[in-house]
């Protein structure tokens, strides 16, 4: 006689279906736990601040055939110099490449002197090219802490910003080191540069005054050629009027009317400060520079604007590293005309 099974067939079917349903449900709902708001760091609100004060518009973008663009300078004839990995490019006012010069190493910064000579700030020395781009001189190498990040020239001398030693070096045109500017000196009331990351900048204003950023103090300082401090201005803060993060502004350039263009890292934006250093207008915000939070590029590079310049036409030129391009900005009324 056949024995009755312990568990009837229909019960096996129900049990199997239940196990299968449980496995599918667990598989579909097994999402990782998302952190709550107290664990989230969100600066998206600050990225939109200043949108109402935008006074400039991007009117052109010059693509660069250049690996790792690092520095930009305007030339007296209205063109541009752009340096990058092993290369110096010469562009005309329309952004067309007119010359390309090979350089041994990657210059961090570039400037044109009053006689047309080109000064390249390599990491620990200055290299000089003649107006045609041929090698002219190499100035003595600095110590191993040196990190030249900006260079500027007036009619008397060349200034090189050394972020590693936190000082601005003053050179004669023959490469002789004439002095240092900005080293902390309590007796002369010089606070000293605070440079948490390699972003020490020098720039000449329209009156040939020497300015430097003090990124760790979130401001600008003006120095006389003898190294004495002429004026200083600092404003730390996340608002559009101030400078945020550890080291901002990280790039500066002067316009013909004495206003200064600044670029920031972290909260990536560009703005113009009037000669009295009040906010004159916003040039670009993080979303304009591919640096809004949430964008993958923003996580990879928090300082996409490598350098700034203002050309003879008054256009603001921003060297965008990841995009390998020069972004050209003009004031709204000029852009419309």
């Amino acid at each position: 006689m056949d024995q009755k099974p312990l568990i009837p067939r229909w019960a096996w079917t129900v049990l199997s279906a239940a196990v299968l349903a449980a496995v599918v449900a667990l598989f579909l709902t097994g999402k990782p736990k998302e952190p709550g708001p107290s664990f989230r760091h969100d600066t998206s609100n600050f990225e939109k601040a200043g949108a109402a004060q935008k006074r400039f518009r991007e009117t052109a973008r010059f693509a660069l055939d250049l690996a790792n663009p690092t520095g930009i300078a305007a030339t007296a004839d209205g063109g541009l110099l752009v340096c990058g990995e092993n290369t110096l490019l010469v562009l005309d006012a329309a952004g067309k490449e007119t010359a390309r010069h090979a350089v041994a190493g990657t210059p961090e910064c570039v400037a044109q002197g009053p006689d047309g000579r080109i000064y390249l700030g390599m990491r620990r020395r200055v290299v000089v090219l003649d107006a045609a781009g041929a090698a002219a001189a190499e100035w003595p190498e600095l110590d191993e802490r040196a990190y030249l990040t900006s260079i500027a020239a007036d009619t008397d001398c060349v200034y090189a910003a050394d972020a590693g030693n936190r000082v601005v070096l003053r050179y004669g045109f023959d490469g002789a080191l004439l002095g240092e500017i900005g080293r902390r000196d309590a007796a002369r009331e010089i606070p000293g540069f605070v440079v948490p990351s390699p972003h020490l900048e020098v720039a000449m204003d329209p009156m040939t005054g020497l300015w430097a950023n003090n990124p760790g103090r979130h401001g600008l300082e003006q120095y006389r050629p003898d190294g004495s401090l002429a004026s200083s201005w600092y404003r730390a803060g996340m608002t559009i009027e101030g400078f945020c993060g550890c080291c901002n502004p990280m790039a500066i350039a002067f316009r013909a009317d004495g206003s200064v263009v600044t670029a920031e890292k972290g909260l990536v934006r560009m703005k113009v400060l009037a000669p009295d250093l009040s906010l004159a207008g916003v040039v670009a915000l993080p979303e304009d520079l591919g640096a809004a939070s949430g964008e993958a590029a923003a996580a990879e590079d928090n300082a996409p604007v490598r350098d700034l310049a203002v050309d003879a036409q008054g256009r603001i030129l921003a060297l965008h590293g990841p995009w390998k391009a020069v972004l050209v900005y003009e004031e709204e009324q000029h852009a419309a005309g």
Partner: protein, 188 residues
Amino acid sequence: MDKKDAGFDRRDFLRAAAVAAAGGGALLAAGAGQAERMVWQIDPAKCTQCGRCATTCVINPSAVKCVHSTEICGFCDLCGGYLLPTAKAQDTGAENELCPVAALKRKYVEEPFFEYTVDEDLCVGCAKCVKGCAQFGNGSLHLQIKRDLCLNCNECAIARSCPSKAVVQIPLREAYRVKSFGAPEAHK
């Protein structure tokens, strides 16, 4: 039927099982001597500071802690990893602190420099300070799995949920993966 005539009796089974166990044990012992111990570590170059390290680890609080590479740190007064973006003052007031559990400590060094240290007993590995430091600072703060806390699960729950695949198993001799000044960040 005579029991002696059975093909495979209980005694045969026990003998076979003993041989199998001895053989397996010998195999394991031989293998253990050759295999390198692997541990879970976070690649700081790939980490996107999503916060899941704090909520996904099988232990609570997480085995992931914030570590600080002071050689990279700028010792800034306005520290993006310590202060809230909306901080009213640059001081140690609780209302200004970014860390939800006050695990990051700030100490005055000399004008205008401050030293930042992590209290690992408080840290939950949420990466809020890491994100602030990466965005506004030098990125000296980063997350890492502490080997004295990690259970070294065969399949790490954090690794499974990490959106950037930053949690990987590496040989013990290569741990810890801590950021250092000038060193390449990515470990391919």
